[in-house]
């Protein structure tokens, strides 16, 4: 029932928020998101200590065998936690400044939260698809209504791109549905039981891969990403980079690996090569960026590429690494975008060459930024390290050379992040930098919380790893059984 509660809270509050005005709307939305955090923690405690699998199942469209079936296992839990933990930060960041039509803005954020939670908890593939799309409409409006220059073309491109991918997923889902025995069912667990031939698996793999590759994004399906991240308002970028693209990674783990294991085993070489290309490409382009937001957007391309590589390597380290790194990347991305927004709010620009010497103006922000940056680069004792370590270990088991190239992300990551840090924080104090002389109380508290998350997860990664471990093991057993079964046939 808690799962259902998680979905209902944002929707109920969304309706309330629509009737409010100004900052009140934001504070009510914040209340809702904090309630979600509480509920998700309760779910986590239940799952971890009592092994209690929380689910809710109700017939939705009986003639099609579609159920409103939501549930949270270890894999979903990490992403649910990510969503609920980050939403308050996103709302708080937006509260730092006046937003036009704020009631609609916060209502849309809550709707999006509901959509994403729906996708992460869906046990029914039809529900998954619907939630996947429902999350897309709010972000389209967030970017379109509150975005920067050229927003119309950029958001439309983003929308069509994502929808195009996901429609092929829909075709795959329908195909799988029609393969299920008896009265047909959209249950994901029913899909796991199917015995598909390798040709069928290949096509299913293609359908899902297109959808998720656009969403993640995997090179060369990424062309919507940098422009959308740059154009979107900060809250939109945080939602996109922090949470939304994880829907694609989650989809890979939840659908592609267990349903089409043979096809993955066959095609993962190609997928990994693409991801590695994306890693290097994203990092190299990030080195040359001047706009801070674009820089982080490209770095994000590199980071999620590594996560996807981990998933495709199909071993426990790779997938566990992906699980924890999805969470960490979300936290780091939101922290970075929060800091950039802090700069932009005060100085009105986010171009790197306009800033220099902030460290001498404001030591606090310099330290905060340094820690977040180190987390993002993956220094030991920060959260990024554990994730990247596990991911690279997973890839190494799959192929040494792939790991070698994928490992470049750490070196190149250090290059662009340190370059950014050097340019922005050291040197002569520029005019623009002077505006960043102080942080408000709220900003300080938020930064400390984000830093706390980064360090705590860096030192105790088991907090998350233990949550997802049983579910990941189960998933891998399922895949192993599947291939044994086909082998004996």
């Amino acid at each position: 029932m808690h799962t259902l509660l998680l979905l209902i809270i944002p929707i109920v509050f969304m309706v309330i928020v629509l009737f409010l005005k100004g900052k009140t709307a934001g504070y009510v939305a914040l209340t809702s998101s904090i309630l979600s955090v509480v509920v998700s923690i309760i779910v986590a405690i239940h799952l971890h200590f009592n092994g209690y699998f929380d689910e809710f199942n109700h017939i939705w469209i009986s003639s099609f065998g579609i159920n409103f079936h939501v549930g949270i296992d270890g894999i979903s839990l990490i992403l649910v936690l990510l969503t609920t933990f980050l939403t308050p930060f996103i709302i708080l960041t937006s509260l730092q400044k006046e937003t036009e039509n704020s009631s609609v803005f916060y209502a849309i954020i809550l709707l999006m939260q509901a959509g994403m939670l729906g996708a992460f908890t869906a046990m029914d593939s039809f529900l998954f698809y619907v939630s996947y799309e429902v999350a897309l409409i709010p972000i389209y409006f967030i970017c379109g209504l509150w975005g920067g220059e050229n927003r119309i073309a950029v958001t439309l491109k983003f929308f069509i791109y994502t929808l195009a991918g996901s429609l092929f997923m829909l075709v795959s889902i329908i195909y799988l549905y029609l393969q299920t025995p008896g009265n047909h069912s959209f249950e994901i667990t029913e899909f796991y039981k199917l015995n598909l031939s390798s040709t069928q698996q290949t096509w299913i793999f293609c359908g899902f891969f297109l959808a998720f590759a656009v969403k993640i994004p995997i090179f060369p399906f990424h062309s919507w990403q940098p422009s959308t991240y740059t154009t979107a308002p900060t809250a939109g970028t945080m939602l996109l980079a922090g949470i939304m693209l994880k829907m694609g990674l989650y989809g890979l783990i939840r659908f592609v690996l267990p349903i089409a294991p043979e096809a993955v085993a066959h095609w993962n070489t190609l997928a990994i090569i693409l991801c590695v290309c994306g890693i290097i490409y994203g990092s190299v382009i990030a080195i040359r960026q001047n706009d801070l937001k674009t820089l982080i957007a490209f770095s994000s391309l590199a980071h999620v590429g590594l996560i996807a590589v981990g998933i495709f390597s199909m071993n426990i380290q790779g997938i566990q690494g992906a699980m924890i790194q999805m969470f960490n990347h979300g936290v780091n991305a939101v922290a970075l975008f929060f800091l950039i927004d802090l700069f932009e709010r005060r100085s009105g620009t986010r171009l790197m060459d306009k800033f220099s010497g902030i460290a001498s103006v404001n030591k606090k922000v310099a330290v905060v930024f340094a820690i977040v940056m180190l987390g993002s680069v993956g220094l030991p004792l920060t959260n990024g390290f554990v994730g990247e370590f596990l991911l690279l270990m997973g890839v190494y088991q799959w192929n040494m050379y792939a790991a070698l190239f994928a490992g470049l992300t750490i070196i190149l990551g250090a290059v662009y992040m340190l370059r950014l840090y050097k340019n922005v924080f050291f040197g002569e104090i520029s005019e623009t930098s002077k505006s960043i002389s102080s942080m408000t109380m709220m900003e300080t508290i938020m930064s400390y919380k984000l830093i706390a998350l980064i360090i705590v997860l860096g030192i105790f990664p088991n907090l998350l790893l233990n949550l997802s471990a049983p579910a990941v093991t189960k998933l891998l057993n399922l895949i192993a059984n599947h291939s044994n079964m086909t082998a004996t046939l």
Partner: protein, 458 residues
């Protein structure tokens, strides 16, 4: 039978409106007549009653399609009264024609005899020819009527010729007799029959505006008064598809291997031509005309799917398409009359001027482009599922490609109304009835999107 009688009486009463000078109350009269017909219609549910010596049967399929057509016509009449009512001297006649054409639609979806099919098609089409030319002094409206009449009568000729050939082959007009004949002789090729089927196919493809028989559509849709275009695009199309599906499923299913290839090719061409041409249109009315061609392409998929899914799929799609398309045309009409343009610029800044209207625009466009949680999404989902069940996976992939092409043009008005600021201070107004009706249409779109079981379970 009561349905047809009620509609005919309403039509005749309307016709006398001008003579006995009660023109002003004819809209009310038509609504009451349609309401009565809808009630009679729902009473026929599950009765499977045959009428007129087995020339028509009110089975559930007919009842469901009849209900959609009548509800849409009622919505249309309410709006017609508002938009044309004040300075229209022919209100009574126009309304009676509309009501008559609905009677034609009812005949088209409930026929069990090819003669009734022809009769229904003619009642509907002749009414449509007149309606297209309603703006007597407008050149394009005249052009529309003329074009529609010439092309339409030509295609009716094909239909009639096809019926004649089928009669020649099977010696019957009765669907059950023809079905029996086709079933018995499905093993050996009967060229006379096949030619008949092909000619009927051409006639009906013309009526549903499928490519390559779609050339009349854009001009007619653009030339006719917008509110009438809404009628063509919804009631006309739905009734034609009702007849199409009924005939081909009931009669020609055993020889589907002979015609399914044709349908498949036509569906592909129709979808692509409709969507790609719609991309380039400036006039939204023309854009919707091309998009309605594309929708015909999607709906053809239902003909290729197994019988137990196809009927329900095409029914659901008709409901979803009818509601959203009706709303879209009405909105365009409102914008056109109040800003003087039917291009997307008319929508600029609509969200600031009239939030309700902007929201309804968004909902209907989202539904037409098939985004969850609107009825349009489930309609597409249902059609795609049924076509995949029929084994046409590749065709569905092409339909999917078309689906996302269509987003580009459907989003134009949405983008204009939400993301751009208006430079003029035209105020866009609606009266209460219209607002309520449009909101009802939007609510129906969303409710059917969330709970499609309401329609699919019947």
């Amino acid at each position: 039978m009561n349905v047809v009688i009620a509609l005919t009486i309403t039509g005749i009463l309307n016709l006398f409106g001008s003579i006995f000078n009660y023109r002003k109350i004819t809209p009310l009269l038509s609504i009451i007549g349609l309401a009565a017909a809808i009630v009679f219609n729902s009473l026929e549910w599950n009765t499977n009653q045959p009428f007129f010596h087995h020339m028509m049967v009110m089975d559930n399929y007919a009842v469901a399609f009849g209900a959609i057509c009548m509800v849409l016509a009622a919505v249309l009449i309410i709006f017609y009264n508002r938009f044309m009512g004040d300075n229209d001297h022919h209100l009574a006649e126009v309304l009676s024609i509309i009501v008559f054409s609905v009677a034609g639609a009812i005949v088209m979806v409930s026929f069990t005899n090819l003669l009734m099919l022809f009769l229904g098609v003619e009642i509907l089409s002749i009414s449509f020819y007149i309606l297209a030319g309603l703006k007597k002094k407008d050149l394009s409206s005249n052009e529309a009527a003329m074009k529609y009449f010439l092309m339409g009568s030509f295609s009716t000729g094909f239909l009639l010729f096809g019926i004649a050939l089928i009669y020649g082959a099977t010696a019957s007009f009765d669907l059950s007799a023809i079905a029996e004949f086709v079933k018995l002789n499905s093993a050996n090729t009967n060229y006379l029959l096949l030619c008949g089927v092909l000619l009927i196919l051409v006639g009906l493809l013309f009526k549903v505006a499928a490519a390559p028989f779609h050339f009349w559509t854009p001009d007619v849709y653009q030339g006719a008064p917008t509110i009438i275009t809404a009628f063509f695009a919804t009631v006309g199309k739905i009734a034609s598809f009702g007849a199409f599906y009924r005939l081909f499923r009931l009669c020609f299913a055993p020889i589907s291997s002979e015609w399914s290839g044709v349908i498949m090719v036509v569906a592909i061409i129709t979808m692509f031509i409709g969507n790609i041409t719609a991309l380039q249109q400036k006039s939204l009315k023309r854009m919707l005309a091309y998009s309605s061609i594309a929708h015909a392409g999607y709906m053809l998929l239902a003909l290729l799917s197994p019988a137990y899914m196809g009927a329900s799929a095409i029914l659901f799609y008709s409901v979803a398409y009818g509601i959203s398309s009706m709303a879209a045309f009405i909105i365009i009409h409102i914008i056109q009359t109040q800003t003087g343009t039917d291009e997307a610029i008319g929508f600029t800044g609509l969200a600031q001027k009239n939030k309700v209207l902007a929201f309804i625009t968004a909902i209907s466009m989202l539904s037409l482009s098939g985004i969850p949680i609107t009825a349009g999404f489930f309609g597409k989902f249902y059609l795609f599922s049924s076509a995949i069940e029929g084994g046409y996976v590749l065709l569905v992939c092409l339909a999917v490609v078309n689906s996302f092409i269509s987003i580009y043009y459907y989003f134009k008005p949405v983008i204009e109304s939400y993301f751009k600021n208006s430079h003029t201070d035209n105020i866009i107004q609606l009266n209460n009835t219209e607002t309520v009706l449009l909101i009802l249409l939007s609510i129906a779109t969303i409710v059917l999107g969330i709970l499609p079981g309401l329609v699919t379970s019947i």
